[in-house]
Amino acid sequence: MFKLPERRFRLGGLMLALSMAVAIVIGSAVPSSAADAIKIGALVQLSGGAAFLGPSEEAAYRMAVAEINKSGGVLGKKLELLIADTATDPATANAGAKRLLNQDHVSVLFASSTSASREAVLPVVRQNGRTLFFYDAIYEGHACDPSMFVMGEVPETQIAPIVPYLQKSMGGKSWYFVGNDYNWPQNTAAIAEKVIPEHGGKLVGTKFVPIGTADFSSILQDIASVKPNFVLLIMLPSDVVAFMKQFHNQGLDQSVTAIATLVEQSAIAAMGPAAKGLLIPAGYFADATQSAKTFEAAYKAELGGNAPAQNFIALNGYDALHLWVLAVQKAGSVDKDAVTKALPEVARDGPRGKVAYSATTRHATFPIYLARIDEQGHPTIIESFGPVDPGPQCKF
């Protein structure tokens, strides 16, 4: 009877010792950085629900660092990139941010993550107080913090330009909204409800579904009966894939145009023939513009042919890192306040076109394109809206 706790205790002790040994081995395996390097940190989603984005997010940061180091680094020093995995989990993101900021003492922190992870990282950034934080992802908009600059598609940049364009070019004014039930789709629905009537259109249905919905029959039945011209799909890629396959299988794609705002190449590939005709408003489509082609060639040359395919979501990190470097060079230091002041004064022509941060909203303005997916799953740009201002996201 009394043996058991003791044995458990010993077992526990053994496990503790073992995990400490493992931690030491892992710790010593990390290469010590050169003294003359500027350390920068990036949180990416290598595992968990958003793991389909992680490799491209990491590669986007690596590509920017490689380009900068090739052209001589920053302030005479090389950049050293430290990557941490958020595991698509706020608690893990928080721990990763603490490690990068408080142990590795990075000069700047980037994050390609969910909004939940961003909110979990922000307290760490505020408490640390010495570094700027860059949030690089498509999201619901209106996240404001004096230490943070944001780059990514928001509802204002994805929905507002396409409504008047599609109503004019394709005809028809009735819209249907299908979203996952959380803040990003809900904020997008609010923008759609505002923008569509402004252009004489009508939102004839708004439905929210739980994340991970596999069966869209009830919504497809409703769409078949109200017959909208356009259906906006504001869902995670897995759910958009399921929707599109069932939408196509039921033949609804003959009469209704689907538009999705969070779909990248792997999701398009997973739709197969069901992707045909899908419209996507976003900042970047591989091989669809001259600047994208130039970038893809350089990217393959730098990271090899097996590098993860780039997409509009991950590329926010690439442009953000480049803009930070330009601001550091302009400010002549990595000091937070100096860089904050210099950031809105720099701009860069990147894979998407001209990218710049606004001083008042702390959000980036970059070009938005509308692409149509063909039978082979390739995007063709049908309209360029130019740089789209995300509007009054924040007031600084």
């Binding site: 595992s47 968990g48 629900g49 793991a51 389909f52 992680g54 490799p55 039930d181 439905k207 929210f208 579904v209 739980p210 994340i211 991970g212 919905t213 596999a214 069966d215 029959s217 009830s218 919504i219 039945q221 409703d222 078949a224 009966s225 890629p237 897995s238 894939v241 399921a242 396959k245 069932q246 299988n249 039921q250 033949g251 792997s266 999701a267 590939a269 997973a270 739709m271 197969g272 023939p273």
Partner: protein
Amino acid sequence: MVLGILNVLSAVSLLFIAAVGLAVIFGVMGVVNLAHGEFIMLGAYASVIVVKLGLPVSVSLIVAPLAVGMIALLLEPIFFRYLYGRVMESILATWGLSIVLRQAAQLIFGAGYQSVPYPTDATITVLTTQISFYRVLAIFLALVIGLGVLWIEKRTNLGTTARAVMSNAGLASTLGVNIGRIYAGTLVFGAALAGLAGAFLAPLTSAYPSMGLSFLTNSFFAVLVGGLGSLPGLAFASGMLGSTQQIVAIFIDPVWGSVALVIVALILVRWRGTA
């Protein structure tokens, strides 16, 4: 109206197809298999492999149950054997297994979405609107699985032995029944049913490592409401839960459909408890 009924029936069938493997394993062995969703996921990836090999996608309805059954057979002696009849331990251990299987799938197949085409693109026109023929097939498959499992349970020697083990494992073993083999066989059978579910569900969605989670929740509710692995109970529970969810989804919103599912599940469990 006819379309609505067909949609409700097919939603009920999809729920039943997804849940039946969980019910079989829970019923015979008292193992709450939280890796059930991952077995479904593995079935979906079996379809992906079948399609990549250039075979017709319908072949995966045979390959996927075999493949997932094989995986369960390999896991039995090193994992499941230690969980028979231990409900709490099985919840914890199979949850761990589900994490391992998800990460393994991510390492092997990548984190992205993999496509599985529909075996048929045909649609049936009901009055003026069309419904996908595949959804009608779901109703048929659910009936085949339900009647098949019922037949094995009631009409075969194996089923009788399994039921004997279910009601009193100790007594059955004194009568010369090899309990270990019955348990292993049931596990493989339940896993194969999950694999079949994965193969059938894959064309509707796509295969991705975390796809199992959403199927697990609803299957779990259906098994919980249906009672300890009783097949008619599961059919009843799938019917009640699936139709409530679908009808609320049609008239209000799929989010409220999910809320209604939980409420109906609670009422039914409470009602079963007092009756």
